[in-house]
Chain length 400, copies 2
């Protein structure tokens, strides 16, 4: 029997308790022994809920109980999650978390602390919810140099873009609808402005390189500017638009970014709809691979947390070899990143902007008094310079 | 430094040597130490090839060298692969294999031998080539009851079906073309008759259950009967046809089968084209997940082999908890498996067969003097009984 404690009885925390209860047998089979929740830390009480007898309000009870070998941190946010996680690791307990803010901000330091205390810090659920992408990166894609990670890592924005595409609706309308259904937060900024996806790509790139990526260095643009008119053009082109979190390497270094991109139908990410997430990886030996699944939700996220708990049990007293380097990487300047753009301008501005940007293809205009075209691949700096001189109605990068 | 030996310097074996040479740095970083190929067993000599100095013709040299800790078996076929693998495990060496015949036939016994000698038997590359599906099943999807595994697990047949769809060509013509390009073997039976996919689904289901599935018990049907005429109807329906290897559980037990199925565009397997493979999994907590990538080829397969070698190094002296049970499962009788069928009959036979099979939808006939329809879900037994009374031109199962 292994005793664990869960910090936070919210959506994910209650999911963890539920998965461990419903699938007790299968978890025990994989772990080699039964896993029992001893305490659940929450500020609230849950009278009538069977969890009530395990509720504690003081983290020290968990910290000072030597029977508790594994701590599940699903509080979210940086504090007190960081303090509790750090204390648990220093006490020799393994910590499993679903908290992307914590991992993106303090992952490297916590990993070092874990190693120093010969215990494990695991965070499968922090990226891609139930998609087992983290373990794939540190345990499976170990013979490859990874040259690209591009993912749809935020379910809320993918749901919004799917609906906009299907219904021809405007962003604001679909967002309100998503908020009404509970698919989007009342303050949707973390999702729609790309901050959530930004932390996730920072975690994945840090795992697969010898230096960590600071999420604050990643160019991040959300989906607020995508309009129903853009979607009309996108459909005409036979393309799709997705908020991608990308990291790409070349001989000189690595670019990282979060932004909407147009995709062609032959790309496996093209068909990822609704709240599904997917991570596409290109590497020198394996070539293209993709991992697809539910990127959020109580049970998928809890399942990923429990799989980490099981791994922690299997590796009691042994370090899981995972790398989250302390040294920070200097990303390539995003200004020099080159891609084609889809551009809409007022018809009268077309001659002027064509002097500044190389046009690959003019598009049939779908809206009166405007022109639309696709550029040749140009640098972000060159595009920004043109945009500063000639106003554009909208522009979206094209994935190539 | 860890010394390994490679049995067989064919496509995969030479790939393993190449991956370990080209990506020596990254393999060492993940393994925690350098990995060196000490011997390569092959009947042939390779004068001029740098591997020549490592070539041995006698397995006992490898077996009796205590410096060799890991043996990579990429000979293919059951013998001498089984004998060598068994001897290596008994000598306390870990074995990594890409050999699906070996794993499907002797996997459970070899796993038992490995455990008895506190060493590891790993076979990531035996299913899905470079797709890390095996490790996902034993190390990541450990908190879930898996209710379905459905995969496109054979690249040759997927290439053929993709070309038939794109070009409207007949099976025999596309097969000859694939043989000319080297995508299909001169004797294509293992691929096109489904035997390869059958072994792979047997391995995946055995890994995820408390009993093993004997591949000989799995209903197996290939793609030889799919015609250009069928494809015309399939396009008209907006569907696609794929050779699926499936295992599905219900309260009573498990069905397993390999057969062509029609898919709808909203299924993630629909978009898996050419030589790509993908494995779709449904489970009680995670829901739908899919793993996509190159199912074959020298470097993708070698990369999966090397990732297992790295895992074996990381787990020196420790057992990797993977389950390949000795006890065999009794599958549900395939006769009772229920699905809808797409059916083509001579027009004159339509009234008669409609008395025997419930029709869900009649299709616009595309070929003179014939009728085509989709049935309601019916059992295989009921369909076979109808087919025995009224001849059908063709029939393909529909995935639901």
């Amino acid at each position: 029997m292994v005793y664990i404690s869960v910090l936070g009885y919210g959506t994910v925390g209650s999911g963890v308790v539920e998965v461990l209860k419903q699938n007790k047998d299968i978890a025990a089979r994989h772990a080699g022994q039964e896993i029992e929740v001893k305490y659940v830390l929450d500020l609230r009480d849950f009278p009538g809920d069977p969890v009530q007898e395990k509720i504690v309000h003081d983290f020290d009870i968990i910290l000072n109980d030597p029977e508790v070998e594994i701590v599940v941190e699903v509080l979210g946010g940086v504090e007190p999650a960081y303090t509790f996680t750090n204390q648990a690791l220093c006490a020799g307990k393994s910590v499993v978390t679903s908290n992307k803010e914590l991992v993106a901000k303090h992952g490297a330091a916590l990993m070092e602390t874990a190693k120093a205390h010969r215990t494990n810090f695991l965070f499968e659920a922090s990226v891609g919810g139930g998609i087992p992408i983290i373990r794939a990166l540190y345990a499976s894609l170990t013979a490859d140099h990874i040259t690209e990670i591009s993912g749809i890592m935020n379910g809320t924005t993918n749901y919004i873009l799917t609906k906009m595409y299907e219904e021809g609706a405007q962003f604001a309308d679909v967002l309100s609808q998503a908020q009404a259904y509970g698919y989007a937060e009342r303050d949707p900024s973390a999702d729609v402005d790309g901050y959530d996806a930004c932390r996730k790509i920072a975690i994945l790139t840090s795992l697969t390189n010898e230096q960590s990526v600071n999420y604050e260095d990643i160019y991040t643009e959300g989906i607020r500017k995508i309009s129903a008119e853009d979607i009309r053009y996108i459909k005409q082109m036979g393309r799709n638009v997705r908020l991608l979190a990308c990291a790409r390497k070349n001989e000189r270094g690595m670019y990282a970014m979060v932004a909407p991109f147009l995709l062609e139908p032959d790309h496996p990410l093209f068909h990822v709809n609704d709240v599904f997430n997917a991570v596409y990886i290109d590497s020198d030996m394996l070539g293209a691979t993709m991992f697809y699944g539910k990127g959020a939700g109580k049970l998928p996220t809890a399942s990923a947390v429990v799989s980490d708990v099981i791994d922690a049990v299997k590796h009691r007293g042994a370090l899981i070899n995972m790398n989250l380097p302390a040294q920070q990487m200097r990303l390539l300047d995003f200004d020099s990143f080159v891609c084609p753009f889809f551009v809409r301008v007022r018809r009268e501005d077309l001659p002027e902007i064509q002097k500044l940007l190389p046009v690959a293809q003019e598009l049939e205009p779908l809206i009166e008094n405007e022109a639309a075209f696709i550029t040749e691949p140009v640098s972000q700096a060159a595009f920004a310079a043109a945009e500063a001189k000639v106003p554009v109605i909208s522009r979206i990068r094209i994935y190539t």
